[in-house]
Each structure stands twice: as structure tokens, then as C-alpha cells.
Symmetry: C2
Subunit: 220 residues, 2 copies
DNA sequence: AAATATTTTTAGGTTAACCTAAAAATATTT
DNA sequence: AAATATTTTTAGGTTAACCTAAAAATATTT
């Protein structure tokens, strides 16, 4: 049975919402993620259910089946590998690759993903720090926390971003924050939870709580 | 105005038929190339005509407009660059890349093609010997002839194939014929026009006229 | 528990891209 | 030139993936 591009995108959205929320995924969450009307989601859920890619109970939400989960995992693997290709090989910036990868992830073909993986040297993380599942669908989890939980005096290394949108990534570039950058949280302002951060031992910047919430770091 | 994947495929088919036949492209030729019913072609022709990508006269056939021709050329450029990527970088064989490139050619994005072109070192020919138009849509033409027109005693170098299907390409691999291979036509059998060919100064093979018709060589 | 608000589904549409069968136009043969 | 054959278009359908508006189900508030 063949799976369409639209179906794949829904499965990926459901996978990500389930991962984040940890419970049955509701129609409106999917509609929000996919930018479609709730009625369109109900429509698609019927089709995915017929294909046994989700378990769907009317009004109760959905969960991926084993097969649906496998398809979503492969899709995420493809998306992230293509992002690595675009950044490492073609020289795109990390804020430019999402829409391209969103298309490339749907290219179907025997051995393409695995050859791409080999060509790229089996990267374990994408340009945004997100883990790339291996050919068997296994995930690597990092012990990382949001920068917002660090206490003054704690050091860390940037490992990822929660917000993947271009404006945030461009802002990070501007202040010199990227994956692998070492930082020291020097102070937190009680009033608005903004933090003072020393970047790479050189520049000192003030980051709003919103920014700190969207940055993942590994405490060192 | 956005152009769909189906529309792009039709434009490419029309471009190629026009190139080969040199006159107005008829509904049935397109239907043959696209593997669709003639009625579906008529349907699509109306849409392409509305979008000013073709000039369409009922019952008389079609021709691409300037814009339609530009779109088709970019598509062929993308297709062939992706084929080079798949063979040179990912290690696919020349008989495995067509279907993948058929999908990859539709990926849309600012600067993707040109970055890919740069990454690949601005190749001028694809893995089948077909020319790759440059960023301005300019074509390189080769002075090549079909192997079937060579006279006994003439030498040549393989520059391309007319039939791109896997069985033919695999047959060529098997007998040691590929792009760049030097050969000498030693004899032609009058009865069936089959030819004797000395490959790379070593192996002597007999090729049917059908094979000789589908091989392009540069006489040397 | 009833009333009200929210969420989800159903009903009924649209568009692109396909289809078959019949009709119309064009080309070829006699 | 008429008859016949071939090609193309038209008419009328289907399916996936969307939509809005109304109805139904579920959740929350009073
Ligand atoms: Mn996608
Ligand atoms: Mn990413
Ligand atoms: Mn294509
Ligand atoms: Mn090719």
C-alpha cells in the first residue's frame, strides 16, 4: 500500500505531538500543526485509520500504530539527513533548510536514505541539534536541559533549539550562539527571569526568558 | 502563479517531443510519453494553456511558450544535476537513478539548483551523456552520431545513449560499454546490419542494429 | 444537574488529475 | 467526393485533499 505525501506529513505531525504531549493526539492539535481546518483532519484520520497507520477513536484522539510510527520515524530520519546534506555539503545556513527538507523527505527510493546517510558519515544530529534515528529506527537521547533552568555560575554547551523558525535562528547567529558554543550563566534577573550569559568566555549578553526557554544546553 | 508537479512533467514531455520531432506536438504523443489517456492530456493542455505555458490549438497540437520552454529547461537541468549527484556522490549505477531524479527535479527552492551545480563542479553532461543546460538555460551540443552510421574501420568514443531504460544500460555494463569507452567498428553484416565492434582495443563483440542505433559516439 | 462553551464530526462543496465512453473533427482510403 | 479510419475532444465520473457551515458530542461552568 502506498502512502501519499500528505499522509506522511500528518503521520509526522502526530508523532511529534504525541512525543511532546505524551497522550492521545487530538484533532485540533493536528489542525494547528498542519495549518488545516479541523474537518480536513477528521477526513485524513479516516484514511490513515483505514490504512492501519493510526488507531482512531472518534472524539477521543489518535495514536500511531507500530507501522505508522515506523513511517514517521523514517520520515524524520530522511528530513534530518537532508538537512545535514544541505548545510554540510551545499552550504545553506541552518535557518534556510527546513522547507527544502520538508520536500526532500518525501522522495522515495530503494537505498536512497541509507546511501545519503553513508555519504554524510552517519551524522547523529541534524543542524538544529535534533537526533537522527538510525536505519533501525533507534533514537539517541541527549541529557540536555533548557538554558532557563541553569543557576548562576553553571556552565553549559549549546546542544539544540526548541524553536526552529528562521527569525530565532538568525537572532542566535547574530549574537554568536550556535551548536557547540560554550557558555556561562552569570546572573538571572528576578523581575523577568532574563539571564546574563558569557558566550565563549568573551561576549556577555542578556537573553530574555523566552530565548532561554528555547535553547537546549548540556550542563558541563 | 505556481506550477504543479504534474504540469512540470507535461512541460518536460512536450519539450522533449518537440525537440525530437521538430513540429507541433500532438495529444497522442504526449499521452504516449506520459502514460495517460488522451482525454487526460486534453484536460491538462487546457490548464497549461490558461497559464500561458503552451500555445494550444484544438486538434492541431501544442508548442511551448517562451515561459513554458524556460520551465522545461530548468526541470531538465535539475533532473540531470540530481542524476550526477546520485551517481558521483551516492554511488548509484546509471541505470538506477532515473526514477529518483524524476522526483528530485520537482523540489523547489531558492538557489538549490545552483548550489547543487557548484557542489558537483558544474558538470556539463549527466551520467547518460546528456547535456546539462547552464543557469541561463544555454545548451551544449555535441557532434555525435549513432554507432549505426559508422563505417568499418572508423573509431569512436561512446558519448551517450538514446534508450535510457535499465535493461539497455545493464546490457551495456555487461559487455563493457560505457561513456568514454573507445571503440573500433570492424565489420557490418549486410543481412541484419549488425556490427562487429572492438571495445577498448580488447574485447570484440557483435552488436545488433537496435543496439547500434541507441548508442551515440563521437567519431575520432 | 442544567446551561453553556468548546471540540469534533458530518454534510455538502471545490479543484487537480486522472478515467471510460460517446461525439466530433480531421485524415486516409477507395 | 464519399466512405471509412483515426485522432481528439467533450461529457460525465472518481479520488485525494482541502474548505465552510451546521449538527452532534463532549467538557466546563454555574
Ligand atoms: Mn514534508
Ligand atoms: Mn532540523
Ligand atoms: Mn518528474
Ligand atoms: Mn539522464
Amino acid at each position: 500500500m502506498t502512502i501519499t505525501t500528505a499522509e506522511e506529513n500528518y503521520l509526522k505531525a502526530i508523532f511529534k505531538i504525541a512525543e511532546k504531549e505524551g497522550k492521545a493526539v487530538l484533532t485540533n492539535s493536528i489542525a494547528g500543526a498542519m495549518n488545516t481546518a479541523a474537518a480536513s483532519v477528521t477526513d485524513m484520520l479516516k484514511r490513515l485509520s483505514d490504512k492501519q497507520l493510526i488507531k482512531y477513536e472518534k472524539y477521543r484522539g489518535v495514536a500511531l500504530t507500530e507501522e505508522g510510527s515506523r513511517v514517521a520515524t523514517v520520515l524524520i530520519r530522511k528530513h534530518r539527513l537532508w538537512e545535514v546534506f544541505l548545510v554540510d555539503k551545499l552550504g545553506f545556513a541552518w535557518d534556510e533548510v527546513h522547507d527544502l527538507a520538508e520536500q526532500l523527505e518525501h522522495v522515495q527510493g530503494e537505498s536512497l536514505v541509507d546511501r545519503l546517510d553513508t555519504f554524510l558519515g552517519h551524522p547523529r544530529f541534524d543542524p538544529h541539534g535534533d537526533p537522527i534515528p538510525d536505519a533501525e529506527g533507534r533514537w539517541v537521547y541527549r541529557q540536555q536541559v533548557r538554558l532557563s533552568v541553569l543557576q548562576p555560575g553553571q556552565r553549559g554547551v549549546v546542544t539544540g533549539v526548541d524553536d526552529h523558525a528562521a527569525p530565532f535562528l538568525q537572532y542566535l547567529d547574530q549574537i554568536g550562539l550556535g551548536l557547540g558554543v560554550e557558555l556561562l550563566l552569570t546572573a538571572r534577573t528576578a523581575y523577568d527571569q532574563s539571564v546574563q550569559v558569557l558566550i565563549g568566555g568573551r561576549a556577555e549578553v542578556t537573553l530574555s526568558d523566552k530565548v532561554a526557554q528555547n535553547l537546549f544546553v548540556k550542563v558541563s
